[in-house]
């Protein structure tokens, strides 16, 4: 029986590249594609893939939140997270969400096939940096006295994280309610709970929090060569 893969990335050109990379492998098939985390969760429920490959930076529901939902619904669900950065925080969140594979997008052509093969054999696949971090965390646990852990962030529910992403993407409470199939009142309650837990007073604070915590991702700035403000090209 073929290994069934579900691929989620908001850029079709990346999905085409991933499909091309994986389709050629004997015994694997792409059973579905999704353009954001929410669609990935829905399609995973319908299609029951063996492995889900999720981009981290997707609109509506990011890859980390989608991973969390997938693994909460089915702890055996095998997720590979694709990311542009292997920052400590993204690694920590991906592991915490239950991802079993972690691949940098820049290395996907080299590592993704190996990652799927590892998960197929019920193993995990991480970049060397993730492995180092996991090992360091394991070793740290042996030193109960020396606590160098960063201060813990207030505990947010999965739903609150979803609401943060949608608000930070510029949606109103009414639009959040519509996307999440909630009443506007419930969406507003989530919003005020989030603001209270995080001690925020404005949406600007929330957007900064969402960017800093990789709930949404922003484009890397490019040095513009020669600003020509006001001049017609």
């Amino acid at each position: 029986m073929k290994l069934r893969l579900l691929i989620a990335d908001d850029h079709e050109v990346v999905r085409r590249g991933l499909c091309q990379l994986l389709q050629g492998h004997d015994g694997w098939e792409i059973c579905g594609e999704a353009t954001d985390g929410r669609e990935a969760v829905e399609k995973a429920a319908q299609l029951k893939p063996d492995v889900v490959i999720l981009d981290v930076g997707m609109p509506n529901l990011n890859g980390l939140a989608a991973t969390r939902q997938l693994t909460q619904r089915d702890p055996r669900c095998k997720v590979i997270v694709l990311t542009i950065t292997d920052s400590d925080q993204v690694i920590r969140e991906a592991l915490d969400a239950g991802a079993r594979g972690f691949v940098l997008k820049s290395d996907a052509a080299r590592d993704l096939v190996s990652a799927v093969e590892a998960l197929q054999r019920n193993r995990m696949f991480f970049t060397p940096r993730v492995n180092d971090m996991v090992l360091a965390g394991f070793l740290d646990k042996g030193h109960s006295g020396s606590s160098t852990e960063p201060p813990r962030l207030p505990k947010l529910t999965a739903r609150e994280r979803e609401v943060i992403q949608l608000l930070a993407e510029g949606k109103s409470s009414k639009e959040v309610a519509c996307v999440l199939n909630l009443s506007t009142k419930t969406a507003e309650t989530h919003r005020s709970n989030i603001m209270r837990k995080l001690g925020f007073h404005s949406i600007r604070d929330l957007v900064v929090y969402a960017v800093k915590n990789n709930i949404i991702q922003v484009q890397a700035p490019v040095q513009l060569h020669n600003s020509t403000e006001g001049s017609a090209a």
Binding site: H11, V13, R16, G17, L18, C19, S106, A109, H225
Partner: protein
Amino acid sequence: MTIRILVVDDHPVVRHGLRTLLGGHPEWEIIDEAEDGLDAVAKAGRLNPDVVVLDITMPKMSGLEACRLIRKAMPKCEVLMVTQHDSPQMMREALEAGARGYVVKSNAARDLLRAVERVSQHLPFTALNGQSVDTDVGR
């Protein structure tokens, strides 16, 4: 007549995707790939492509700088920017650097083929999110 295309992006998986999207056209040939701006300039000089499909944010040399150098050395070679930057300012910068076309990556599947068709005929194509315009802006 065959259109010879050089594909430039620092992510191999994106290059695979661009190849797949462009590969369906019988008269287009992907002659090579490059992974940064420097590589793009060197390969364009050596292979003399008709169209360079060029990312902007890349290591070593950005797509904007590579575009300037390619256009200066080979004025007949057309450059199509394919970028994540959905920004009028960046589009203007690209056109000023000599690009003939500008496509946002998230819309590449919709716009790429039309854009390559246009720029290969030395006609402009610019498209930000939600709008694609065959226009004479920039030249």
